[in-house]
Structure formats: C-alpha cells, structure tokens
Symmetry: C2
C-alpha cells in the first residue's frame, strides 16, 4: 500500500486500489479538517469529466475521482467489453485538473462472491432510459451507493449529461438520507453542440458529422415547449429531425418536469431528454426548457 502511494510522481493524483488504503487516506484528510468531493467515472476521461473535477475542487479541499467500469449497468448485449479503458491516459489527464486521489477498485472488490444486495429505484427511474436499458439504474444506484460508502465524501459531482441518472441519484440520496450533497454539473459540448461522451470515440467520420443534430433537435423542442407548443408535438418534431439526419433509430425524445421527470407543465422548469442510435452507437443528450 505504501509502495503504491509512494510511486506517484509530481502532481499526479495518487492511485488507491484497496479499501483499507482508501479509508486510511480519507481518515488522514478528515483529521486535517479537509472536506472531500467525489467524482464517480467509468474512465475514458474527456474534458467533460475534467470539468467535473475542477468543479469538485471548488466545492471541497480534496477531489477523489473513482474509475470503475461497472459491469452491472451493462446488459449482456451492450458494450461492456469494448467500453474504452485507458488508466495511464486517465491519470495523466487528472493531473491537469487537480484531482488528489484516483480510486481504482476492481470487480473482486466491488462484487465479491456471494454479493447479494442491490438498490432498486422507482420514481425518477421509471421510463426513459429504463424503457430501453431496464438493468441500468439498478446497476448505477448500487455501485454509486458503494462508492459513497467507500469514499464517504461531503459532495459528489455528476454531469447533467446523464440527466435521469442525476435525478435518480438525488432521489436515492434523499430517500436513504445519505449524508452528502449531490452537485449537478452542466454538460460540456463540442463547438457544434455535441455533448462530450466516451462513446463518441465509436463514431465514424460520417457519423460524427451527423451527431450534432441530436442536440440541435432537442434545443428546438425546448424552444417550442417554452413557447407553449404541446410537449408531444414538440418531441415528435425533434424525433423526426433526428431520424431525417441519418440516425438509425430514436429510442425516445421526451419533455418532462426537470425535478421529478414527471409530466411537463408550461412555466415550470422542464427538460428535453433524448436517446438515439447513430449506427451502432447510442447517444443521449438533454437540454433545459
């Protein structure tokens, strides 16, 4: 453990690989009176993640970034096996963003033999992603609860890019009285509006040229909903735009209440959320109304 801590050069965040070392590190921070913010990630870090880390450092003295590609939030047919992994590259990027520690649990630690407990979310977890990835939020809530209990942060930072996930995690924290604050961070985008995503790496050049239509279409839907057009009509128009641009299929375009993800009422904070397939890559995005 001491060896793994001491081989870190310069400003690079310290890698931590055992729960014992993690708890020792956190205890050390606490005894120095430091606060802690956690940024949970699946690695394959991009500027969107680094923005979360920089936000973490404005909230707390120490930023812990976890990197774990969680098998329980992928279905068997999904891209768990080919999900991009680059630990060395990730750590180099994290050094530039000011992360203090990188928490790198492995699956033997996360899901030991006889693992038999899971957290089930309803409410904000119903519909949208769950209609297409029914296993997803069960995997997310369980692994996020574990990360919270491992790191015991004061704050945890999640991107608005995964807006329903953020809502489900806020709901879990409130429902289970978890002793931390959830901070939502705005989505980082390419100049043409495409939301940064580790899965953008899957896109061909032709697909990459089409991809920004997703964001453009939901921004139009947000404007229509704000101006009083009925949500179903505004959503359908956006879906048609996405399909016409060359996306293979649209999982959903939905206009919802921003807090509950229930029905949208004009004048209340709303959100347009969408998921669509560009070739074999599934992209999601959302914008506020």
């Amino acid at each position: 453990m001491a060896a793994s801590l001491s081989r870190t050069p310069g400003n690079a965040p310290k890698p931590i690989r055992t729960l014992k070392a993690l708890r020792q590190t956190i205890r050390g921070c606490r005894s120095d009176g430091e606060t802690i913010a956690l940024v949970p990630t699946m690695g394959a870090l991009h500027d969107g993640h680094l923005a979360l880390v920089r936000l973490a450092k404005t909230k707390a003295d120490r930023a812990v970034v976890s990197i774990y590609v969680n098998p329980k939030q992928f279905a068997p047919h999904e891209d768990f096996g080919r999900y991009p992994r680059d630990e060395a590259g990730d750590r180099a990027k994290l050094a530039t963003a000011g992360a203090d520690f990188v928490w790198l649990p492995d699956t033997a630690l996360m899901y030991p033999d006889a693992f038999a407990t899971r957290i089930v979310a309803e409410g904000a977890a119903l519909g949208l992603e769950t209609d297409f990835r029914p296993h997803f939020f069960g995997g997310v809530t369980t692994v996020v609860a574990k990360l919270f209990n491992q790191v015991t942060p004061d704050f945890a930072i999640f991107g608005e890019k995964d807006f329903q996930q953020l809502a489900v995690i806020r709901q879990m924290v409130r429902d289970l009285d978890m002793p931390l604050s959830i901070v939502g961070a705005p989505t980082t985008r390419e100049r043409d509006g495409l939301a940064l995503s580790s899965r953008n790496a899957y896109l061909s050049a032709a697909e990459r040229a089409i991809a920004p239509t997703l964001n453009r279409a939901i921004r139009e839907a947000a404007a229509r909903a704000k101006s009083g057009q009925r949500p179903d009509g505004a959503a359908a128009a956006a879906a048609a735009t996405i399909g016409a641009a060359g996306f293979a299929s649209v999982d959903y375009v939905a206009i919802r209440d921003a807090a509950t993800l229930g029905p949208y009422a004009t004048g209340r904070p709303g959100r347009v959320l969408a998921a669509a397939w560009l070739g074999k890559t599934r992209l999601i995005d959302n914008v506020k109304i």
Copy 2:
C-alpha cells in the same frame, strides 16, 4: 430544537425528533472525538433491548437508541396497528441502561411523499422468514440503511434473537461497504428459556406456559445435529415437539450454516432457527449448534 434538547431531566436520554437536530448532535459528539453506537429498536423495550444498550456503551462513547415502528416491514394483515407503543415508558427504561440519545423519527420523515428507493437483499434473506413474510427484509434493509445514514454510527448493535435479520444486515453492510461495524448480541431469555420479545405481551397465561417449548425443542435439535443426526430429521423432531406442546402451527424449524444460512455441515458453526404460532402470536427463536 434547542427546546426539545433542554427539557430532558437528569440522566434520561435526550429525545431527538428532527434530522437536523440529530446531525447537529452527532457532529457535536464527533468534534469531541467521541465514537457512537446505534441500537435500532421498534420500542416496547424490554430487558433484551436494555442489554443491547449496555453492550453499545461498552463499544462506543455514546449510545443512540432509535425507536421507530417501521410500517414497511409489516404486511397489511400483520400486527403493525396493535404493535405495542410506550414512548414514555421506553425513555424511562433507557435512562437506567445508559443510553445517551433517543432518535424518534416519524413516518413523514422516514417515508416522505414520492419515496421511491429500496434495498433488496437476496443471499441470507432467501427462505426462512422470507417464505412466510416476503415483504419483511426489504422493509428492514431499507429502514436500517436510512438509520445508518442518519446516525452515521461506528457500531450498530442487533440482537441474535432475529438471527436471519442479523445475517441480512451483515450481508448488506459488507455488500454496500457501509462504514460501520455490526455487533450481534446474545438473546436475553426468561428463566424458562423463552426469548424476550415485545410480542410476548400478546400471550395469554396458558400460552405463556407453553411458549418455552419452542426454545427447548430447538436446543434438542441443536444437540442432535451436533451429535451427527441428519439436519432434516433433527428439525422434524423439533417441529413435532412444538406442535405437540400446543402451538397452533410451525412455520419452520431449520438447521443452517450460521454464517451464510445455507446448508449445515457437521463440524461447522451451525444454527437452529424456528418460527411458530402460539394462538395468534408468532414467536421466533434460534440457538447455536
């Protein structure tokens, strides 16, 4: 809040009724360097609970006793409505056992509108109680996780009386990496062997006279299993003894591995667990092999 804290006389534990006051109290203990043990109860306290509180005080500087009759661990046909409640009596008893704080959440605090998260346990939760009370452990794990997140104790004390519950909670804490230690406490018994239980108050004098047969029968089964008799035979003999004594029905008598609640192997730590109805009262008990 200050008012509710200041009206406590002498040695009686301070009642706490809001999450804000609880967190403030816990922060105060922490800033004094004190450790905390939680004893979760449903009130109707008896000497068994008080033994848990005294054990808590040997483990930590401060003992917090929670009292909450959790509706989610009762089915509609069960005894939630008539479950005994006596807050004033409970607080007086707790004063004698050295409890420092009594946490008294209400259902509006525990299960606010739009509550939508639950913890599901398999593994140790399968079979036994779950075969007869399928809702039970989902209610227990969720409320216990909330209590842990509210109180953030270093230790939580649970009686071995509810042996499967203790196993399920240990499993949850391990699976979700909850940052506390679970302490199991031996069952407190009447002189004739009957395990103390708030539900013993339901028994008629005639039923009370029959009740100790439950413990006697499972002690006999433990002796038989230890001497090498096959578990099914030893369990069946115990069930027959319980039935012959005048119990209305036997839900189960089972001989299991003490750690996993899986199949028992001679020579390993084992447990005999039983549940049976005496009139309209359901009694449970267990003993080690």
